[in-house]
Subunit: 132 residues, 4 copies
Amino acid sequence: MNITLAQAEKAITAAQEKAKAIDTKMNIAVVDAGANLVAFARMDGAWLGSLDISIKKAKTARFFDMNTGLVGELSQPGGSLYNIEHSNGGLITFPGGIPITNSNGDIIGAIGVSGSSVDNDHAVAEAGAKAL
Amino acid sequence: MNITLAQAEKAITAAQEKAKAIDTKMNIAVVDAGANLVAFARMDGAWLGSLDISIKKAKTARFFDMNTGLVGELSQPGGSLYNIEHSNGGLITFPGGIPITNSNGDIIGAIGVSGSSVDNDHAVAEAGAKAL
Amino acid sequence: MNITLAQAEKAITAAQEKAKAIDTKMNIAVVDAGANLVAFARMDGAWLGSLDISIKKAKTARFFDMNTGLVGELSQPGGSLYNIEHSNGGLITFPGGIPITNSNGDIIGAIGVSGSSVDNDHAVAEAGAKAL
Amino acid sequence: MNITLAQAEKAITAAQEKAKAIDTKMNIAVVDAGANLVAFARMDGAWLGSLDISIKKAKTARFFDMNTGLVGELSQPGGSLYNIEHSNGGLITFPGGIPITNSNGDIIGAIGVSGSSVDNDHAVAEAGAKAL
């Protein structure tokens, strides 16, 4: 059960539309069930540093099958997962990464978005994830 | 004084039984006295991101000959080992890593477990460490 | 003078069409003038190991403003650039990476393709580069 | 279509039996279809440096869906894939890595073996791959 390129591109297109609707410029990455990149788009003028962050958000969401912001809540100083970000070649644990499921509820990949506030990043990722 | 493969596999089998008993899916790693991997098992459906974490927990436990959670208590902001996680290619310092000793009390390796709450991770690691 | 996302996607679409026409499954990456990823697509069933290779080909082509195969000719044992692949976090110096120029002849990015023989990789990259 | 832990352990057990039969000590790694580690065993006294090599062989076999030795034939100086080893965080391209298929012929993972001559490594990997 793996996301297809056509599905990944559909998610990226929907995410881009949302990004434009809220006047932001985003990096958008989609990984498959094995956490490997399937498709990516950097909108013109989007932050360069968000390229790597968007990919790491997508990977992090699939690595733990949850929204990246949830991981971040547990990794604060004193939290049970403090400094989990040092694993897996670097995680990003603030909002903007969301697992993608098929109609059976199976996780088939994840989307990661970076380029604006974390609220905007999450909203754009959600638009992408829900497009399938 | 080094853990054998047979001992490592015995620890992993015991850890898996505990994991099933508490209805979790774990990544389980055992390293030797040199902190090098001896045996590893990823239970079907376990979090992919926990693969690296379980190995890093086992290494961390042997690197400092103590439970990983103890290192984490000392590495909080303001603590004496703040940000020690940046060493050794990345440490994991929350619970789930435990040194393994032989009957003489010599440390012969360590076990690292990841895939659920840190309490569950620690309980499964303990079941593995105590099996020897 | 930088490639736009729309241009990168046009190049990837043209490359995909060529890939299908010659019955191959490709990883296709486009970087900008700064050698940073702009867009990427992994066709269903394409080799997983070609993901990283396609990106490294695109970067290598822009790093030195020439086809990757030309760098490879100079990096053979005894050649003037022997083992240049150790730089820049890893280069790929066999064919499949081509600079992309605008109508003035300025280099605005590069495309990298991997997933088949190097001849096929180069042919697909060329189809993408010429689409602009 | 992904290899299960039970299948991976069966492959490792068969590989170990072959390793003992030809009087060698091996590191044996099995990855899934996403090239992520599922199970690993280092036989007592096996070369420590072969730990990483066995894992990289398994990954390389899945990255390109072929025996690692075939990649190595193409990556010699002057060959079409010269220096491909610089990709994917490091490949190992001599024999000892073999894709694992299910009864339908689908590739569900790969096995990598290191610890002796490449002929022995390949023979042990083959015993593991054929056990399923």
